[in-house]
């Protein structure tokens, strides 16, 4: 199976569909997790490659953007989930496909909790107390004296 076909089948899970400026499909999910979607893909033998996991701080919600590629036919698709701004929680897909480190980065930079992912620190020191630096509301003065 290929990603395009699978998305046809899973149409009911999609809230809206856009296009990035670079031409890829941007699929926003109704759910707060893309785990079920990816599980289904892998179960149906999609040769899936995960390029990256991008956290984005929109003012009203925290968005997590998974960027997938199908190695078979070279189609790319971006899957986005919108999470609660105050307490963003979603499921990890680290055990399905190698996303643990990307998710860990999103955790430390945006405070997104990936349930089931053990990695919470990738770049920042273990005793970091500076909050979530890539959030738009983050100010240096709130955490550091200088």
């Amino acid at each position: 199976m290929e990603v395009v076909e699978m998305l046809e089948i899973q149409k009911d899970k999609i809230e809206e569909e856009n296009k990035l400026s670079s031409g890829e499909r941007l699929v926003v999910l109704k759910d707060k997790s893309c785990r079920a979607l990816v599980e289904k893909w892998l179960g149906n033998g999609v040769d899936l490659h995960l390029c990256s996991v991008v956290g984005i701080d929109n003012e009203d919600a925290i968005q997590v953007l998974y960027y997938f590629m199908d190695r078979k036919d070279n189609t790319t698709v971006a899957v986005a989930v919108n999470l609660d701004h105050e307490k963003p929680v979603t499921d990890t897909i680290g055990d399905l496909i190698g996303s643990s480190v990307y998710e860990g980065e999103a955790t430390e930079m945006f405070g997104i909790e990936f349930t089931g992912n053990e990695i919470a620190r990738v770049f920042l020191p273990e005793n970091w107390v500076g909050g979530y630096p890539l959030r738009k509301s983050w100010k240096k003065e709130d955490y550091f004296d200088e």
Binding site: S21, C51, S52, V54, I56, I97, F123, L134
Partner: protein, 394 residues
């Protein structure tokens, strides 16, 4: 099973084998690695945050400074992403020139990698021979772009410097000189008995592991994933050029050496084609004003797939810029591969996957008696270590 035979020590953050500060926490039994863990972030500079305060023309030079070796890959990739958002057509000549610099960069990056690998296995002579030949490429890049690293070649919408006939002649000469030298390098690297004994069968990344951990670039191709963005999703002018994508199925360090040397020759071919078929025309389209929209750009950097995401919200400054450097994708596989090898293999495996690692708390533990692999989570490891400590005290 006595736990007393285990020794735990840190490789890094300062260690002669690591050219960048990273930490490897390894537990060994004798010389055999029982547990390995990598700790990253010693060089985190917050470039993504800084980029949010600069307009795209300035962020371009920031992107260039993400990496010293593949600076052009980041720079061109960022430019390409912004061009998607701005919806501009990049002149064909600029596309070809970008290919030219990208391939020269691939040449120098692969040769650098080869030299570093030779140094890690204690073969300093080869290291110096390769780096000596690499100077030819560096000189070519310096003449063409104006710098050895951080070329400053790209601008949003095109390139900044044109290829004059003088420089073209010089590049031709350098390439002619480089060809035979690469043949020599190939013969030495692939036939030296000690090199073979140190790299063959070492650090095997299986196809399954490679697929699951989403490795990219030469690491993926050496594990049997036939996939190269230059061919499969052509960008710049790669669609018009003729080249082969080499694939190996062994997955060990030796196959990576073979693969990268083959890629050197392919790069030479591409450069020759570019120099011959360079179209005439402008080299730049101007991009001005505020932008709106988000875009992803992926190009095949020397070390693998380079991923840039930019998001503009009616502004000149990116609302969000996300960079995933190619080696970051290869992190998980390389640490998992370390277990079961010997201390002497650590630098080799690390260098083969390019030294850029992340702390992954999921580590493998090899059971001493049965050699059974099992994955332990951080909590279990912690419990285990507390138990062992208790045992030792009592």
């Amino acid at each position: 099973m006595s736990k007393r035979d285990y020794t735990e020590f840190n490789l890094g953050p300062q260690h002669p084998a690591l050219k960048e500060p990273e930490t490897f926490r390894v537990v060994v039994e004798g010389e055999r690695i029982v547990k390995a863990e990598a700790i990253l972030g010693h060089t985190h500079r917050g470039i993504e945050k800084v980029a949010e305060q600069r307009d795209y023309n300035k962020a371009l030079y920031l992107a260039e400074r993400i990496c010293g070796i593949c600076s052009f890959a980041h720079n061109a990739n960022f430019a390409r992403a912004v061009e998607f958002v701005a919806d501009v057509e990049v002149p064909e000549r600029a596309q070809y020139l970008r290919v030219l610099v990208a391939e020269l960069e691939r040449l120098h990056s692969h040769m650098l990698w080869l030299g570093v690998l030779a140094h890690e296995i204690g073969f300093d002579t080869f290291y110096f021979l390769v780096w000596n030949d690499r100077e030819l490429v560096m000189d070519a890049l310096e003449t063409l772009t104006g710098n050895r690293v951080n070329y400053g070649m790209n601008d949003i919408g095109g390139v900044r410097a044109d290829l004059t006939p003088d420089i073209k002649g010089l590049l031709m000469r350098k390439l002619d000189e480089l060809g035979p030298r690469l043949e020599k390098i190939k013969e030495i690297a692939l036939k030296n008995k000690t090199v073979i004994s140190r790299t063959k069968g070492v650090g095997v990344i299986s196809n399954e592991l490679a697929r699951k951990t989403c490795v990219t670039g030469p690491t993926a191709r050496s594990s049997g994933i036939n996939w190269d963005l230059r061919r499969d999703q052509p960008y710049f002018a790669y669609g018009d050029l003729d080249f082969d994508v080499k694939v190996s199925t062994d997955g060990d360090v030796y196959s990576k050496i073979t693969l990268r040397i083959e890629e050197l020759f392919e790069s030479m071919r591409i450069i020759q084609q570019v120099l011959e078929h360079l179209p005439e025309g402008r080299i730049k389209t101007d991009v001005r004003g505020k932008l709106d929209g988000s875009a992803v750009s992926r190009i095949e950097a020397p070390r693998g797939e380079n991923f840039h995401y930019v998001d503009f919200r009616n502004s000149k400054e990116p609302y969000r810029m996300k960079v995933r450097a190619p080696t970051y994708a290869n992190v998980v596989s390389s640490v998992e591969v370390l277990v079961g090898h010997y201390i002497s293999d650590i630098p080799v495996i690390v260098a083969a996957n390019d030294p850029c690692f992340s702390c992954t708390d999921r580590t493998l533990v090899i059971d001493r008696d049965t050699e059974r692999y099992q994955i332990l989570t951080a909590k279990e490891l912690r419990k285990l270590s507390i138990e062992t400590t208790k045992e030792e005290i009592m």
